[in-house]
C-alpha cells in the first residue's frame, strides 16, 4: 500500500516536472527574450528604459546564462510563488488570474460529478437490459457524444437556445452579479448558470464511461457467483447491486485519471464559446498577445491541478479497491 502511494507520488512529481519544462519552453519560444518584449511594452506606454535597467532585468532573469540555468532560476521563483508579471496587464500574473482558476476548477469538478451521475445508472441499465431498445438509444447517443467536439456542441446549443428561446446562454453569472463581490446570492446565481456548461463538458466523457461501465458489468454478470446468488433466491435488484456493480466500479474510478485532463482541456475551449470567466479566454488572449508569463503560468497551474486531481483519484481508488490496498494489483 505504501509502495503504491509512493509510486503514484513519484509519477505525479515527474509529470509536474515535465509540465514545468514544457511551460518553460512555451515561455521561451517567441523570438527575442522577454526583456526585449518588456522594453517594447514600456516604450509604447511612454516610459523609457535605460540600458542599465535592461541589463539588470536580464541579470535577474539570468538571460545571459545557459538555458538550464535560466530554467533553474525560473523554477526557483515559481516554487516561491513568484510567477512573474503579465506584460499586457502590467500586474503580477497571480492577480490577473485571480478567481478564474477557481472557476475552472468548479466547472471541471461539476462536469466530472455529472459524468459519474449520468454514466453510472445508464451503464448499469444498458448492461442489465443488454440489446434492449433503450440500450441501443444510449449507445447511439454515446457515439454522438464522442463524435461531436464539445465546442461544436456548445455552438449548436447556443444557436438553438438563441433561436428557439431567445436566450443568450453564455456566461456564468447574470449581469447583476457579474462584478459584485462574493455573497450567497452570487453563489446561487452561479449554481443556476453552472449546469449547462457542465453538461456540455461532461457529455463526451460520459459516453466513454457508459461504455466502460456497460462492458465491465456485462463481464461480471456472466460470473458463476451471480448465478449462485440468483439460485439462492436473491431479489434481482440485490443480485445486481450488491456485488457485480461494486466489482465493476473499480475500473470506473480509475478512469478519472484520464477524464480529468480531458475535462480541463475541454473547459478551455467551451469557455471561449460560452464566454465563461475561466482561465480559457485569458489563456487565448495571453497567447495571441505573446504575454508569455501569463500564458505559461496558466498552462503550468492547469497541469499541476490536473496532476493533483489525478493523484487524489488514485487515493480514492485505493480506498475503494481492496486489491490495491493489499498490494496485489497495480
Amino acid at each position: 500500500m505504501i509502495a503504491y502511494i509512493v509510486r503514484r507520488l513519484i509519477l505525479a512529481l515527474l509529470t509536474i516536472w515535465a509540465i514545468s519544462v514544457v511551460t518553460f519552453v512555451i515561455i521561451q519560444l517567441p523570438p527575442g527574450d522577454f526583456v526585449d518584449a518588456y522594453i517594447v511594452q514600456l516604450s509604447a506606454s511612454g516610459s523609457v528604459v535605460r540600458f542599465e535597467e535592461a541589463q539588470a532585468l536580464r541579470q535577474l532573469y539570468g538571460l545571459d546564462q545557459p538555458v538550464w540555468v535560466q530554467y533553474g532560476k525560473w523554477i526557483i521563483r515559481v516554487v516561491q510563488g513568484d510567477f512573474g508579471a503579465s506584460m499586457e496587464w502590467n500586474r503580477p500574473v497571480t492577480e490577473v488570474i485571480g478567481d478564474r482558476l477557481w472557476m475552472t476548477i468548479v466547472i471541471s469538478f461539476a462536469a466530472i460529478i455529472i459524468t459519474w451521475g449520468i454514466a453510472l445508472p445508464i451503464g448499469i441499465y444498458s448492461a442489465v437490459r443488454q440489446y434492449s431498445f433503450a440500450d441501443y438509444i444510449f449507445t447511439f447517443v454515446g457515439f454522438v457524444g464522442i463524435a461531436v467536439p464539445n465546442f461544436l456542441l456548445a455552438l449548436i446549443i447556443m444557436y438553438f437556445g438563441f433561436k428557439l428561446f431567445d436566450l443568450n446562454i453564455g456566461g456564468l453569472f447574470s449581469s447583476d452579479y457579474q462584478l459584485a463581490p462574493w455573497s450567497w446570492g452570487k453563489v446561487w446565481d452561479l449554481m443556476k448558470h453552472l449546469p449547462l456548461p457542465a453538461v456540455i463538458l461532461a457529455l463526451a466523457g460520459t459516453a466513454q464511461l457508459i461504455r466502460i461501465m456497460r462492458a465491465n458489468l456485462l463481464d461480471e454478470l456472466r460470473r458463476p457467483y451471480v448465478t449462485t446468488a440468483r439460485a439462492r433466491g436473491l431479489v434481482e435488484w440485490r443480485v445486481v447491486m450488491k456485488y457485480p456493480v461494486r466489482a465493476a466500479l473499480n475500473p470506473f474510478a480509475s478512469t478519472i485519471g484520464y477524464l480529468l485532463p480531458f475535462v480541463v482541456s475541454g473547459s478551455i475551449v467551451i469557455s471561449l464559446v460560452l464566454s465563461l470567466p475561466t482561465v480559457g479566454p485569458l489563456l487565448l488572449r495571453a497567447l495571441l498577445a505573446q504575454d508569455m508569463f501569463l500564458a505559461g503560468t496558466i498552462v503550468l497551474l492547469l497541469g499541476i491541478l490536473t496532476v493533483i486531481g489525478t493523484f487524489i483519484s488514485d487515493l480514492i481508488l485505493m480506498w475503494i479497491d481492496p486489491r490495491i490496498r493489499a498490494g496485489m494489483h497495480e
Binding site: 509519477l11 515527474l14 509529470t15 515535465a18 509540465i19 514544457v22 511551460t23 512555451i26 519560444l29 517567441p30 523570438p31 457515439f143 454522438v144 464522442i146 463524435a147 461531436v148 467536439p149 465546442f151 461544436l152 455552438l155 449548436i156 447556443m158 444557436y159 438563441f162 433561436k163 443568450n168 453564455g170 485519471g257 484520464y258 480529468l260 485532463p261 480531458f262 480541463v264 482541456s265 475541454g266 478551455i268 475551449v269 471561449l272 464559446v273 489563456l283 487565448l284 497567447l287 495571441l288 505573446q290 500564458a295 505559461g296 496558466i298 498552462v299 492547469l302 497541469g303 490536473t306 496532476v307 489525478t310
Partner: protein, 378 residues
C-alpha cells in the same frame, strides 16, 4: 495460431474450413468486418469523403478565395427542379442585392424572371487536378454564365466567398492533416511501442512512464501554447506541418500502447518460438511473423486515431491558433461562426458542423467494427 486450427481439421476438411484455415489474418478480419453492416457503411462513407478531398477543386463551384463585398452573407439558395412547363430543368433565380436603409444590412431578393439553369461540367476557375493536370472543368455550374454571379448552394460568408466551395477545399485540408498526423504518430507509436514490447525491462518501464506522463497533461492548453509560438510569417505549408507535428506529439501514445500490447502477447506464441528455433533472424520474426498478425489491430487503432486528429486540428484552428487564413480547413470555417452575433446573422455558416460530425462518427463506427473484427477471440 492457424497451425493449431489446421491440425484439428485434418480428418474432415470441407472446402470452406480449408479456406478459413489458410486465410491470412487480414483476410479473416475482412470476412468478419463484412458482417458488421454499420462498419461497412461507415467505411464507404469515409471513402466518399476522401474522394471529395481528392476532387475538391472539381466539386467546388467558384474560387474559394474570391471575395466580393457585394455578395456578403447571401443565404443558401433553393434549387427549383422543374420549369413552368413541367420539364426537368434545375435552375436558380438570380439575386438582387439591396441595402436595407434601416439596418444597413444587404438583403437579397430572388428575381423569378431571371432564371439561371444549372449545367454539368462547366468551365470555371483554373486549378490543377491531382496537382498535375491544369484544367478549368467543374462538376456543377451555370449554363452560359459565370457561377460567381448566381450560384450559392450554401450561401456566402461575410466576405462574399461561396461556402459550398470553401467546404470542399476545407474537407481536403482537414482530412489530409489527419492522415499526415496519423502517419507521424504511427511511426513514433510503432517504434517506441515495439521497442517497449520487444525488449521489456528498464526500457519498457521508461517508455511506459513517458506515456503515462504525456497522457496526464491536459492537451489543449499545451497545444495552444506550442501553436501560438509558430512564427507569423510562416507559409501555409509550414504551419500545416508544424500543427501536425504538435498534434502527433501526444497522439502517438495510444498507438504505442496497442503495439506494445500485441508484441507482449505475441512474444509468447508458439509460432514465434518455432520461428526462433528454426533460426530465423530477429528482423524476420518481427516483420514476417509478428507484424502480419497484428496488422489488423494497427488498422483499427489508426481508424480510431484519425478522428481524434481531425478534432484536434479543428479545435486549434477554431481557436485561431491552428491553420490560419488563407488556409481553409473545417476549423478555419467554423471560426467565422464563433459567436452568437455571427450565428444570428448567418446561421448557415454552422453547416460545416455536419461533415465534421458525420466523418468523425463514421470513423468511430468503422474503427469499432475493425477492432471487433481484428480480435479473433471476440
Amino acid at each position: 495460431m492457424s497451425g493449431a486450427v489446421a491440425d484439428q481439421a485434418v480428418p474432415l476438411v470441407t472446402a470452406a474450413e480449408e479456406k478459413i484455415a489458410i486465410a491470412s489474418q487480414l483476410q479473416l478480419t475482412w470476412w468478419r468486418l463484412r458482417r458488421h453492416r454499420l462498419a461497412v457503411a461507415s467505411g464507404v462513407l469515409v471513402i466518399l469523403f476522401y474522394l471529395v478531398a481528392v476532387f475538391a477543386d472539381f466539386l467546388a463551384i467558384t474560387s474559394p478565395h474570391a471575395t466580393n463585398s457585394a455578395r456578403s452573407y447571401i443565404p443558401p439558395q433553393t434549387i427549383h427542379w422543374f420549369d413552368e412547363d413541367g420539364s426537368f430543368k434545375p435552375h436558380v433565380y438570380a439575386l438582387k442585392g439591396r441595402r436595407d436603409m434601416r439596418t444597413f444590412k444587404l438583403v437579397y431578393a430572388p428575381d423569378p424572371s431571371d432564371k439561371r439553369y444549372l449545367a454539368w461540367f462547366v468551365e470555371g476557375y483554373g486549378y490543377e487536378l491531382f496537382g498535375l493536370i491544369a484544367t478549368k472543368r467543374h462538376l456543377l455550374g451555370i449554363d452560359r454564365g459565370v457561377p460567381e454571379d448566381a450560384l450559392f448552394l450554401l450561401g456566402t460568408d461575410q466576405l462574399g466567398r461561396d461556402v459550398w466551395s470553401r467546404l470542399m477545399l476545407a474537407t481536403r485540408t482537414s482530412l489530409t492533416i489527419g492522415l499526415v498526423g496519423v502517419a507521424l504518430s504511427l511511426f513514433l507509436g510503432v517504434l517506441l511501442g515495439g521497442i517497449s514490447g520487444l525488449y521489456g525491462g528498464a526500457i519498457d518501464t521508461v517508455i511506459q512512464r513517458i506515456i503515462e506522463v504525456l497522457r496526464s497533461i491536459p492537451t489543449i492548453p499545451l497545444w495552444m501554447g506550442l501553436a501560438a509560438a509558430l512564427p507569423n510569417d510562416w507559409s501555409v505549408i509550414q504551419v500545416y506541418m508544424a500543427i501536425t507535428v504538435i498534434i502527433s506529439l501526444i497522439g502517438w501514445t495510444e498507438l504505442a500502447r496497442v503495439v506494445r500490447g500485441r508484441f507482449l502477447a505475441l512474444r509468447e506464441e508458439d509460432f514465434v518460438t518455432a520461428a526462433e528455433l528454426a533460426g530465423a533472424s530477429r528482423l524476420r520474426i518481427i516483420f514476417r511473423h509478428m507484424v502480419p498478425s497484428f496488422m489488423s489491430h494497427i488498422i483499427a487503432a489508426i481508424s480510431l486515431a484519425l478522428p481524434a486528429m481531425i478534432i484536434s486540428e479543428t479545435t486549434l484552428s477554431f481557436l485561431g491558433l491552428g491553420l490560419r487564413p488563407p488556409a481553409i480547413s473545417w476549423g478555419v470555417l467554423l471560426q467565422d461562426a464563433q459567436d452568437i452575433q455571427a450565428l444570428a446573422l448567418a446561421p448557415w455558416l454552422l453547416v460545416v458542423a455536419v461533415p465534421v460530425i458525420v466523418v468523425i462518427l463514421a470513423f468511430n463506427f468503422l474503427g469499432d467494427g475493425l477492432r471487433d473484427a481484428a480480435d479473433p477471440y471476440g
